[in-house]
């Protein structure tokens, strides 16, 4: 019997804490994972979205309750927290929307999936979504 070969390296599943943190993603990689994260955020917060739709649209009384929730809070939840959650949703929607349009464009255009174009549109997606979220967030928190 031949001598046992030198122990070969094992490649197991990546570890979320030791491996993922060492990855350096390009812009398109960030757009991709954030597309997923933003989608998951909106999935989890869906009851809150429908609650906002319900209270804002059902009647004058519920509409004022909707406004009050943002200004002075509702129950034990302070208003600034409601605004923060709403801002998270605003960012999630913006990112998902813009990255989604980029996706659709890449589906129909061969030029869009080139490395250079992909990097440019990915950067544009990040700048637009974060920029708009900052502008709208500042408005939401009454900075202007």
């Amino acid at each position: 019997m031949p001598e046992l070969a030198k122990k070969r390296p094992e490649f197991r599943n990546i570890n979320a804490f030791t491996d993922l943190t060492t990855y350096r993603l390009p812009a398109a990689g960030w757009v991709s994972i954030l597309h997923r994260v933003s989608g998951a955020i909106m999935f989890v917060l869906m009851p809150f979205i429908i609650w906002m739709f319900d209270t804002s649209v059902s009647s004058e009384v519920s509409f004022s309750r909707f406004k009050a929730a943002f200004n002075s809070g509702i129950g034990f939840v302070p208003g600034w927290f409601i605004k923060l959650v709403a801002l998270a949703l605003i960012w999630a929607y913006l990112h998902h929307f813009i990255a989604g349009l980029r996706h659709l464009w890449m589906d129909v255009n061969h030029h869009a999936v080139e490395k250079k174009t992909g990097a440019t549109t990915a950067t544009a997606t990040l700048v637009l979504s974060i920029g708009l979220a900052v502008v709208l967030g500042a408005k939401l928190f009454g900075l202007y």
Binding site: R36, G39, A40, M42, F43, M46, P47, I50, F53, D54, S56, V57, S58, S59, E60, F63, F97, G100, L101, H103, L104, D107
Partner: protein, 121 residues
């Protein structure tokens, strides 16, 4: 006829992925159109945005129908997305099944609520 069972089954070419892929695109386009319509009716409105204006947007029958279609599209779109996430990250079959069933229940419940709010306006 291609074999669609056993170890020699053909796992491509049966539109396994294409149907959901294209459904996710189609529903995305619908929701994007809805977003633009909603934003346009807010941006091109006159005066402060109060209850009357906001509720008025959803008062028109065509807007109700469009919103209803978008809610159903959203339900399907999110189902495909969440199913992809569970399939990618959750490997134990029982955990994946539980999460997928939870996603369906969550989405159908949310859609029911949203549709109720919409049609009682």
């Amino acid at each position: 006829m291609s074999v669609n069972y056993g170890s020699k089954r053909i796992v491509v070419g049966a539109h396994y992925g294409l149907r959901d892929w294209i459904a996710q695109r189609a529903t995305a386009v619908l929701m994007a159109i809805f977003t633009v319509v909603l934003l346009a009716s807010l941006i091109f409105s006159k005066g402060p945005i109060g209850y009357d204006l906001w509720a008025g947007i959803f008062a028109a029958q065509w807007m109700k129908v469009l919103t209803m279609v978008v809610i159903i599209a959203l339900l399907y779109h999110v189902w495909i997305g969440m199913r992809d996430i569970w399939m990618d990250y959750v490997k134990p079959v029982i955990a994946r099944l539980v999460l997928q069933v939870f996603s369906i229940a969550w989405l159908v419940g949310c859609a029911g609520w949203a549709i109720q709010v919409l049609w009682r306006l």
